[in-house]
Amino acid sequence: MLRKLMKSDATFTMGFVLFIGWIVIAAVANWIAPYDTLAQNLAIRFQPPTGAHWFGTDSIGRDILSRVLVGSRISLFAGLTTIALASTFGLIYGGIAGYVGGIVDDVMMRVSEMVLAFPGIILAMTIAAALGPSLFNSLLAMVVIWWPNYARVMRSMVIANKNEEYVEASRSLGASHLRVFFIEILPHSLGPMLVLATLDFGNAILLFSGLSYLGLGSPPPTPEWGAMVADGALNFNYWWISTFPGLAILTMAVGANFIGDGLRDLLDPKLRKGM
């Protein structure tokens, strides 16, 4: 499937290469980073890109290239964790609502709509500010605003599947509710969830770096991309401080979005291009 996609879809290939590239960088960042990400040296602060510091140095003389490389670990971790937790919770929540149905479904869906209608970034900001800025709290805030989409998709898949004949067959053979749900219904519902998760990954990275930009993510001196852009915003005349971490966020998000687009086109032939 991967080869077929790569062959027919140049943007998917590009996204795939970008994204794998970042994963590789994240894996080896601690070895390839030329400098210590936390080592301050005021004597060399605000240095433009040079042979010694390819991406220049920041307001307290730290090497920006090293921080961008190591920062990929945090962004990838934040994106993956948010999506994994939000989709798992959404899967269970939407699964229960769709499977049980009736008033339980009604109440559960109203609650999810409530969260969905709340302007996400404001809720996330409020939670992160109330609990204090930390990596854990910003991730928690993101999961809180992120799960309803998954719950809704999961619910509609379960409702579409639960009256299929193979499900009834399994039930009439005496399968328990749990078995019917996990063995029969769940596997048929994962496709759309997967597409949503890939398409969402870029958004999760963007929101996470946005929260960090506002000072609500990992506290300094963690090398986090959004926080690094913020350092550049305070020192506006030194363009390299915010340019490079911003490009890092952009390329990671572009990679994820290209992959998500390719997957969606593959699973939904109506959207396939060249139509």
Partner: protein, 339 residues
Amino acid sequence: MGLLKFIVRRMFFLVFLIIGVSLIVFIISHTVPSDPVLANLSQRNMDNKEMVEAFRSKWGLDKPLAVQYAIYLGALLKGDLGLSIRTQRPVSMDLAQYFPATMELAVFAMVIAVVFGISFGVIAAIKRNTGVDRLIRGMSVLGASVPSFWLALMVLLLFYVVLGIAPGPGRLGPRFSAPHTVTGLFVLDSLLAGDLATAQDALSHLVLPGLVLAAFTMGLITRTTRSSLLEILSQDYIRTARAKGLAEREVITRHALGNALIPVVTVIGLGFGNLLGGMVLVETIFAWPGIGRYAYQAASNLDFPAIIGVSILIAINYVIINLVVDILYGVLDPRVRYE
């Protein structure tokens, strides 16, 4: 009377939404260990037991949590949003002051997104699978992937600092003063006052933040327009139009585009919601005195009444815009029934 029922139901949802939004913030505000008494009374009054008691009973703080929320909700449903802890003014007054700035920027950004989004989408569909198409699609993904706060800094750096062809942050240059408030929209108000120079300056201040805000929605509209137009172009009545000898331009403008734009209307509604969320970061960077920056200041100061107020305002806007979009959808496409 399907439409009326539809509208009434949406209004019910709005009330439910207001309850939900306020309840969520109320829960958060009572899980953090902060004491409103401590935050609002001076040290001398804190020592005075009677004073503390009076304060507690005045604001209902001596009652159980559920009762406190009921009191709050009762006031809220009457339109009383309470006092902002940070500004010490009624939240509704703050919102009324900051909302027009946001509205002006949002409308401007939306116009950019719609005009360019549809144009690019049509071009990409006509030239499908060519270099132009790939370029446009690449740009639209870029628009959806670029961190808005970073793009804001970059355009400021390039167009304001380096090239000097765009104005800096804020709504007006230092040489101009705000026009007499009629609508709160600076461009419109200065035009009403006959002050062309101010109108022009206000308009030029809209360009950079407007472009940054539009980037995401523009990408979304481009992609929807393209795929929707491609689908329409493959239909029989388009073949008929071509067969009777119409020029391709006529086929597209007279027959295809109208139908192709129906799904785009939905996306515009969604895009507007996204725009209001993006306001927080963009307004903060462009020193734009709107509700996005107000929301940021409220959240970082844990100013809960203000947070609830601004969230409800945005949620109401979102519901109303989507209501309008849904009604429009039915007008454009008579097959749609309101359910």
